[in-house]
Symmetry: C2
Subunit: 158 residues, 2 copies
């Protein structure tokens, strides 16, 4: 049987991202500001999943003073530009992930320990495309989360 998944991240060249964003902004008549660049940099630095509050902290850590309002506004722009997407786990707050130029990355959460594992599955993407084709839809993206119990979580409780 074919290996259904390829676990874990491979670093991707991040260089073109800022020009992608720049181009997007220009096409909309919007401006490329220091704050927007800083937000994108912080996101690239984290590379995986992040939430708005974390991003604020990352920005502070790097000595960048970007307001919460601007951070949220930039997150929206980056979504419109197709650079990041939301990846929701609970209704408390939104989680985002960088996707531009990457394979879709899916998530498995342990219901006991909360451990989170990322993986990617080409088979899943194929299945998605097949489902869309069958119904006459054009796929854009997907979100897949598995809820499970990790090996550590299997331990009998005490």
């Amino acid at each position: 049987m074919k290996n259904p998944i390829t676990e874990s991240p491979k670093k991707q060249p991040t260089a073109p991202l800022c020009s992608v964003f720049r181009r997007f902004l220009k096409s909309k008549g919007l401006k490329y500001t220091i704050e927007r660049a800083d937000v994108l940099d912080a996101i690239i630095a984290r590379d995986g999943l992040f939430e708005a509050e974390e991003l604020l902290l990352e920005l502070r850590r790097r000595g960048h003073r970007v307001s919460k309002a601007t951070t949220y506004r930039t997150i929206h722009l980056l979504q419109d530009a197709g650079i990041i997407v939301q990846a929701l786990f609970d209704s408390k707050q939104a989680h985002y992930q960088l996707i531009y130029g990457k394979e879709p990355r899916d998530h498995m959460v342990c219901m006991k320990t909360g451990r989170l594992v990322e993986f990617q599955s080409g088979e899943l993407t194929q299945l998605r495309d097949r489902i869309c084709k069958q119904l006459g839809w054009t796929p854009i993206g997907h979100r897949f989360q598995i809820y499970a119990v990790s090996p550590e979580g299997q331990q009998p409780e005490r």
Copy 2:
């Protein structure tokens, strides 16, 4: 090629649900109240996806006076009981779906028109189980959402 999906709902006998809930409550030393029964009934009546506010309306429509607080509290209990799960689409508000005794139901959203289609795919569940097995995890559930453009949405804009 095997048909990857089976579209759309088949009515399921809903009779045992209330006793499942009743049993769950008893096991936790909690009480089965009229309000809790009313909330579960309203959920069964909708059968598909719902959000808290909609549920309130459904309850009102049926002439049941359940407060917002109790509705939210009951939704949590039903999640703990494994009768419903969250199925998030956006960060604005939580969406829930009835799952007890059903095949997992997944969703496809049109990015242009907002149209929502439910489907179920046994193949997806198999893939999920395979992924879990490979990493030594025990699957509990999953959430799969496809973002796509529906045939109607393909129309050139005007």
